[in-house]
């Protein structure tokens, strides 16, 4: 971008010929509600070396039923609270059977404060599925929160720290591991689109 490009873009906006979409400003204001006081931010450290397409889905992940609930009060998650497709469902997608979009899962690894969060993301035409693992396994009373700017899903990780969910909208995503008595660990926000 040259200074001239910027100046012309500024002129266009000031002329009203390129107004900022109301949605952009509304989303910016809403980001304030995504603060996580005291959280440790886990930064991307590259893809996990031990997984690849066709990796086995996590097993034993508890999700659905009492293991799934909506995020904060008033969170517009009601439509998602009962989606709890079992891990087998996600696993079939990740394993190839139900794959959609370009189908290739994206592998992401985040780390901070001695915690590693591995995530395998499948970006479909209409939504995102993911499976992941927190290491070391966060233990009893922990929960994994999968956040988008507008919805949040809670999963209780398995004994080995695995979790999964499906049906997330395209766009921004962050995963937070809440552990009793310890600061939450939140991955940096990632933009995931087809």
């Amino acid at each position: 971008m040259s200074d001239d490009d910027y100046l012309l873009a500024a002129l266009r906006i000031a002329a009203g010929s390129d107004p900022i979409p109301a949605r952009v400003s509304a989303d910016a204001r809403a980001v304030y509600g995504l603060r996580l006081p005291g959280a440790v931010t886990a930064v991307p450290v590259g893809p996990p070396p031990h997984v690849g397409p066709g990796r086995r889905p996590p097993s034993g992940t508890r999700s659905g039923g009492s293991g799934t609930r909506s995020g904060g009060d008033g969170d517009p998650l009601s439509g998602f609270g009962a989606d709890a497709i079992g891990v087998g469902g996600v696993g079939r997608r990740l394993g190839g059977g139900g794959r959609h979009g370009d189908g290739a899962p994206r592998l992401l690894r985040f780390a901070a404060g001695g915690v590693t969060i591995d995530v395998e993301v499948t970006i479909g035409d209409t939504h995102i599925d993911l499976a992941g693992q927190v290491r070391p396994a966060p233990g009893d009373g922990s929960r994994v929160e999968i956040r988008t700017p507008h919805i949040s899903k809670i999963r209780f990780p398995s004994e080995t720290g695995e979790f999964a969910t499906t049906g997330l909208p395209h766009g921004w995503l962050s995963i937070v591991c809440h552990r009793p008595g310890l600061p939450p660990v939140a991955t940096r926000w990632q933009c995931l689109r087809p």
Binding site: Y6, A10, L11, I13, S17, P44, W172, A186
Partner: protein, 178 residues
Amino acid sequence: MPYDLDLPDETAWRELVERFGYRMWAVARAFGLGPADAADAVQAAWLRLVESLPSIRDPERVGAWLVTTTRHEAARIGRRRAGAPLTGLPADIPAMDGDPAAALLSEDEGRRLWAAVDTLREPCRSLLRLIVTAPEAGYAQLARRLGMPIGSIGPTRIRCLRRLRTLLEDDHRRNDDP
């Protein structure tokens, strides 16, 4: 204007959006990003800010930081659109450096920008107006409308933008040193 970001003050946050959203959008659009990609670049900067709140020591410079971060994210999205391989995941957030090019643009500054265009002599005034309001017009169309040789449109555009920039810098200095 200082922003006390240590406090969970939603009003301060809204003021930030009000004050800097305008120029963040301009920076993203100046990269040639479409509206959807520009929205992602702007949203990225806000999300990086919320991730970085605890480490921000100089609230006075948050505006420059937001603009720099938007530019960084817009460049990354631009590279991806161009098919260039991404070198890994999003890099670290840029340092909170000053950004002279972003010394524009609030709504009031936008008005001053156009007031400056109006003080330019022809053909600069008409040329800039046309470029801005009819971005799809090619050099041939601009040349016809302005009665200029097509070969002089490019150099004239550069010269006019330089003049405009000088005017704005003078204006800025006058406001700084009354």
